[in-house]
Symmetry: C2
Subunit: 417 residues, 2 copies
């Protein structure tokens, strides 16, 4: 008997992707409904496996915020099933005709959306991603190969098995959803080196995980997530906009990539705005790291170091720095931004337009909270992740970012002269 | 004095890319005209440097086809200048609004095309690519960093210097066009590992060069070029279409990636079509590698081995194989195709539609010569290369494939609820 390797799974996923690519939109929606139903029916098994992951995590001493990401209860399993149904209801991008024309010799050219083939994902301690990626991949005609990390191992095993059984019941090959979790590090490596089998690989998780995947992969990767997000308060920033936007961007959900981490305040506005936003942030329990000017205007400021400017706190902490000019703010952003989202609060159209033109990030905002960088907020209905790279997709990614294109040419014997 | 490293050049290119990103379409067109003019004015210097490359190449014993690619004479320098003028005349993709909408809360969202920033290119022995890539990159608002290989070293040095001087004269920073050729292998390595400095890297050349770049790069790469191209002759293929398309796809320009390499003939059509295309190919001087059936129908057939099916001859050689069914043809293509271009000759709409749907290549054709896979033929006006990957761009790439996008959000104090 041959011992199974991660490579066998990739190979079967590739084979399965030829079948998923040809499913109709209706067939895919039915398969997703079968998955949603199975998740509900097997909720008890899923929660039981998850409990073992949570207990092991506690024993290993992982932090409460990680435990919270890891945990699945009845409400969360129901939410998973309902998110699968939302994906099933999304418009199918496959087959969309993007353009075309007739060549002068009569050959008819057409560019159409096609599935990538096999979508790989490497992520950490978030069993919901297992279901999200598998569902989004399937809706867009792709097979998926998942590597969800050891912390969520038992949860992911059951979730993948439930989804595979549902596919079989729906008359679709179970090989369209694969996990390589049981191969540990070798599973991740097979994904990263799976040239010819993995058409795109999406890492989701810590900056370190993403860096590893980008560096070690020979397959195409879409970088997602890391967000060292800035807000600039211009001299003309109105009090309320400045305060509300900074507080919302920090406090509304501090653990996510579109939360603000550093606020840059123009010197001329510092005496007016820093006490105001300082008090508002402190009343929300936010610790403030700041430079000398900030320390002179707000109490309990922790002196900011070089490291603060580069830190994604992902919690109730913020860095505030006073800058002399918009140029200095732009230079600071160039040096420290991860290219995710930056916003300026200003009523000066010159500052606004310069900021929009010169900041090189996926999303650049004027007078709005950075928390709006989100697939659902952008109206995509579901989010594959937020790309911080420039190739293929940039910013919030919807279903169509899980597709490629191909050119079809229909002739009647034409040759090139 | 600090010793200059490839990294210094990448860093200056990145800095320069901020300036090129903000050039207007008119400014870029003027700079390209200045480059075209300078190439003509300095033709003698360029040809002199090129002569030294050609002589060194001859002394090193490189083949005549490589020498031909390497050589620049007056006519070819004039053609280079004229291709730069054609690029200058192309529509500028930067600033194009791809879409947008108002969020329910009133934030106005807009997705616009922006330059990548720094475009890197690694290629071999083709000094024309030096000018092509620099011009295309500049037209789309990018800086470029070029690594053209040792064989064309002296030609590339002069070409880059001429273009840089022209930029300076046009009031644009010369740092927008860089070479790292003088650093040899270290220059290529700096490009491949230039995370944060190189936004996209395009390899052009042999399959081995492309494989190296894809495997060793930590920056995003667009794979181009390798074309093990197939034509299937279905049972219903008309004599003339079959003959004309195969001969054109092989003979019209055998050295390029869209030339056909293997012809798969349905068994039922073999006795009718193989003698016909065999004779036509032989009269054009094409050597035929074939299986036993082919050898029974045409004289002077070289027995085909497994290796032939995987070979890009890029010359006057072709492989012909008889298959029992369309399924077998599709399986052969899945195994050996590089995903560039495949074509079927058929009048049976079922075979045509199956071929279009199931062949997973950048361009899939019915009843047309594979030689049509080309940016100019597709109406793009200029070609950056032909992408054989699925991420970002697939098939012939025009100027807009040298751009990314960004989202602009304009609000009036909105925060997320």
């Amino acid at each position: 008997m041959t011992v199974e390797t991660p490579q066998h799974r990739l190979s079967r996923a590739k084979e399965a992707s030829r079948a998923t690519a040809r499913l109709t939109s209706d067939e895919k929606a039915k398969a997703l409904e079968a998955i949603a139903h199975a998740l509900e029916a097997k909720a008890a098994d899923i929660i039981e496996a998850n409990t073992r992951d949570v207990e092991r995590g506690r024993a290993d001493g992982i932090g409460e915020s990680l435990i919270d990401r890891l945990r699945l209860d009845e409400r969360r399993v129901a939410a998973l099933a309902s998110s699968v149904r939302e994906v099933a209801a999304l418009a199918d991008p496959v087959g969309q005709v993007l353009g075309g024309h007739r060549m002068p010799n009569g050959v008819a050219l057409e560019q159409v959306r096609v599935p990538f083939g096999v979508v790989g994902a490497i992520y950490e301690a978030r069993p919901n991603v297992t279901v999200d990626i598998a569902a989004l991949a399937l809706r867009s005609g792709n097979a998926s190969v998942l590597r969800g990390g050891s912390a969520a191992r038992e949860s992911n095993t059951v979730l993948v098995q439930v989804m595979r059984d549902a596919l079989t019941n729906a008359g679709i090959t179970a090989e369209a959803i694969q996990t390589v979790d049981d191969f540990g590090r070798d599973g991740a490596k097979a994904l990263m080196q799976g040239r010819g089998f993995v058409d795109v690989l999406i890492p989701r998780g810590s900056a370190r995980l993403i860096e590893t995947v980008v560096t070690e992969s020979t397959v195409p990767v879409i970088e997602t997530g890391a967000g060292n997000v800035h807000i600039v308060l211009d001299e003309s920033a109105p009090d309320e906009w400045a305060r509300d936007i900074v507080v919302n961007a920090k406090v509304q959900r501090p653990s996510v990539c579109n939360a603000v981490e550093t606020v840059l305040v123009l010197r001329a506005a510092a005496p007016r705005l820093i006490p105001l936003i300082g008090a508002a942030l402190k009343s929300e329990g936010v610790a403030i790291h700041g430079d000398d000017v900030v320390a002179g205007l707000v109490t309990e400021v922790i002196p900011a170091t070089e490291e603060d400017w580069a830190t994604e706190y992902l919690g109730l902490e913020i860095a505030i720095k006073v800058v002399d000019t918009l140029d200095e703010a732009l230079a600071h952003i160039r040096e420290y931004s991860t290219g995710h989202t930056e916003s300026i609060v200003t009523t000066d159209s010159r500052s606004a337009e310069r900021f929009l033109a010169e900041v090189d990030s996926a999303v650049v905002m004027v007078n709005a909270s950075t928390r709006f960088t989100d697939g659902a907020e952008f109206g995509f209905g579901a989010e594959v992740g937020i790309s911080t790279q420039k190739l293929h997709a940039r910013g919030p990614m919807g279903l169509s970012e899980l597709t490629s294109t191909k050119w079809l040419a229909r002739g009647s014997g034409q040759t090139r002269g």
